[in-house]
């Protein structure tokens, strides 16, 4: 799979993705920059994909396997942890239905 790669195609994807990223991200208001940052934590969890590709190659020896299991775990922490934290934060931004007796101390 690595051999079939073409540098120019990938560089084109890289540059265009950068531009799309700049355009999309610059529209996000300051209010949501903290959820954005934890969201990007989840997005760079895409390294999980890289770790999975290498695990799939096989025949790399025990030490490489150990490194890859750690990499898979790191990627999973990013993806699952990142999206969960972001979801928790964004839920707080939703306007909650007004409760007659709202106890503000319910959360520690």
């Amino acid at each position: 799979m690595i051999i079939a790669s073409t540098l120019t195609t990938n560089l084109a994807i890289l540059v265009l993705a950068g531009f799309v990223g700049f355009i999309v991200i610059s529209k996000i208001p300051n209010t949501l920059h903290t959820p954005l940052m934890s969201g990007t934590n989840a997005i760079h969890g895409i390294v999980l994909v890289g770790a999975l590709i290498l695990v799939g190659l096989g025949g790399l020896g025990t030490f490489s396997d150990v490194l890859l299991v750690i990499a898979v775990a790191f990627g999973t922490i990013n993806v699952i942890g990142g999206f969960l934290v972001t979801d928790r934060m964004l839920e707080m931004f939703k306007r909650k239905p007004p409760k007659p007796d709202d106890d503000p101390e319910k959360r520690p």
């Binding site: 690595i2 993705a17 208001p29 903290t34 760079h44 790399l60 699952i80 707080m92």
Partner: protein, 494 residues
């Protein structure tokens, strides 16, 4: 794997997997677009998560050795660590969490590059050689990889390692495992940083040129690791938000570089999204502090000016006007327009719920309450918004700096809670101040100011705040949560 039914062949075809990746890109971009407003943000985040899931599933479909045991082991480990951390983290600790997660991503990139080197490193620097793989495992032939792949892989290893260690230091500083003040080698710091960078890059160049030594690769990772430490340790607490977003950009770019090395478009696209986001936020924050990114990376700010601050305090001594909760309550009760200026001190004291209570009491009396949010209030951009949202403050009461600054002139009382440098008039009036030129919340324009603060100690930047010596400013000393709660109870009797 040899007897495949046609459906499996289709599912495992590169075209089908690429088609799934394209669906994943669309979902990711639509998801990020949802973050333009609080109403669409939850759905946006979930859309992006679905995009990520599709990218992962597509990757698992591709023909492979089927070593599911290893994959399951890794995923289970990651879930066992990640889920409780994400569920339990306090909103005040989000900056540390982001730093830690960011480091983990950079670490994964460095490990992936390492394994790539173990697998293909013997062919680095040779386009045609068919070489045996390294010692210690079964000999098999590996086709030579193009040089650019070696370059991207090695570069990703360096950036990933810097990001991993830098983020861990940022985490340790924010978590107060390490002191927040700059830890520096003094004047030789820049030389050491430069030397480490040169060492890491030189090792990388040698590896790409065909020096097949795993020790050299490990040496390169170590030099990059030391560089990550050496760059972040001298940076003070006040600049941490900028560092976190810069490292965030690094992790994204290293993921994209790994994507080029592995010829995987999903890694390239997602990595660049993070790279773009981190770069934009870094620039925005540096602008909000009126500092250049190189100056921040040079370190030493945020604590260094403490001596200067102490001298300033002596000069001003005796002119501070201190009040109690009862006086503050009276002042607030007779106001018609109150602006709350929250800072990190409010977050540390967990005072956001008490502040919300106070605002409710004031609103019951027909007093208009809004919140002025400086772009770098808290320890991360937008951190204050999250803390106030947690306390159920409606987000339309949260005003950004440019919107609220003209409002201060018609504000009766500005209530500054645990904020310091972002209100310091010296940023406008004193060209010799280290924060001169930084955009501030113009609290001094309001008719009166109440500052809730633990003591007269200067803030993160270690700079004396002239606002506290202004005749219309009253200081209410104490823990933010207790002080605000006291004002609420005093209000009942006004």
């Amino acid at each position: 794997m040899s007897t495949l039914v046609p459906a499996t062949i289709f599912l495992q075809s590169e075209s089908f997997i690429y088609a799934l990746y394209i669906v994943a890109f669309m979902l990711m971009i639509f998801g990020l677009r949802g973050l333009v407003g609080p109403k669409t943000a939850v759905r946006g985040n979930r859309t992006a998560a679905v995009g990520m899931a599709i990218a992962v599933i597509a990757t698992l479909l591709s023909p492979q050795e089927g070593r599911w045991g290893l994959i399951v082991l890794g995923v289970v480990l990651g879930t066992v660590v990640g889920v409780p951390a994400a569920r339990q983290v306090k909103m005040t600790a989000i900056p540390q969490m982001v730093a830690l997660f960011n480091g983990v991503g950079g670490g994964a990139v460095a490990l992936i590059s390492w394994v790539e080197f173990r697998h293909y490193g013997s062919t680095y620097g040779s386009h045609i050689a068919t070489a045996a793989a390294g010692e210690g495992f079964a000999t098999y032939t590996t086709p030579a990889v193009p040089t650019y792949i070696a370059i991207f892989s090695v570069a990703a290893a360096i950036i990933g390692s810097v990001s991993f260690w830098g983020s861990n230091i940022a985490f340790a500083k924010l978590q107060e495992i390490l002191p927040g003040r700059p830890i520096t080698l003094g004047s030789s710091q820049q030389f050491v940083n430069g030397l480490l960078a040169v060492l890491a890059i030189a090792a990388g160049v040698a590896l790409v040129a065909g020096v097949h030594s795993e020790l050299l690769f490990i040496g390169m990772l170590l030099a990059a690791a030391l560089l990550g430490n050496a760059v972040v340790l001298p940076i003070g607490g006040a600049d941490m938000p900028v560092v976190i977003s810069l490292l965030n950009a690094f992790t994204g770019i290293s993921a994209a570089a790994t994507g080029v090395a592995l010829n995987n478009p999903a890694m390239i696209v997602f990595g660049m999204m993070v790279g773009a986001s981190g770069s934009i936020l870094t620039k925005l924050m540096a602008d909000a502090m009126n500092r250049s990114i190189p100056a921040i990376m040079a370190g030493g700010f945020g604590g260094g000016g403490a001596v200067e601050g102490a001298a300033g305090a002596g000069e001003h001594a005796g002119t501070v006007h201190s009040i109690g909760a009862a006086d503050a309550a009276i002042q607030l009760a007779y106001a018609s327009h109150v602006v709350v200026v929250p800072g990190y001190g409010m977050a540390v004291a967990q005072a956001q719920h008490a502040v919300r209570e106070l605002a409710k009491e004031l609103e019951k009396r027909g007093i208009e309450v809004s919140y002025a949010i400086h772009p770098v209030a808290g320890r991360m951009p937008g951190h204050m918004n999250v803390l106030l949202a947690e306390a159920d403050v409606p987000y339309d009461q949260l005003k950004e700096m440019d919107d609220i600054n003209p409002e201060f002139q018609r504000t009766d009382v500005s209530l500054v809670i645990g904020a310091n440098d972002v209100t310091n008039p010296a940023a406008k009036t004193n060209p010799s101040s280290p924060i001169y030129g930084m955009p501030i919340l113009e609290v001094a324009d309001s008719k009166s100011v109440i500052v809730i603060k633990r003591s007269m100690n200067p803030g993160f930047a270690g700079i004396e705040n002239e606002l506290y010596y202004d005749p219309k400013t009253a200081m209410l000393f104490g823990d933010a949560k207790t002080a605000v709660a006291d004002i609420v109870s005093e209000l009942a009797s006004v």
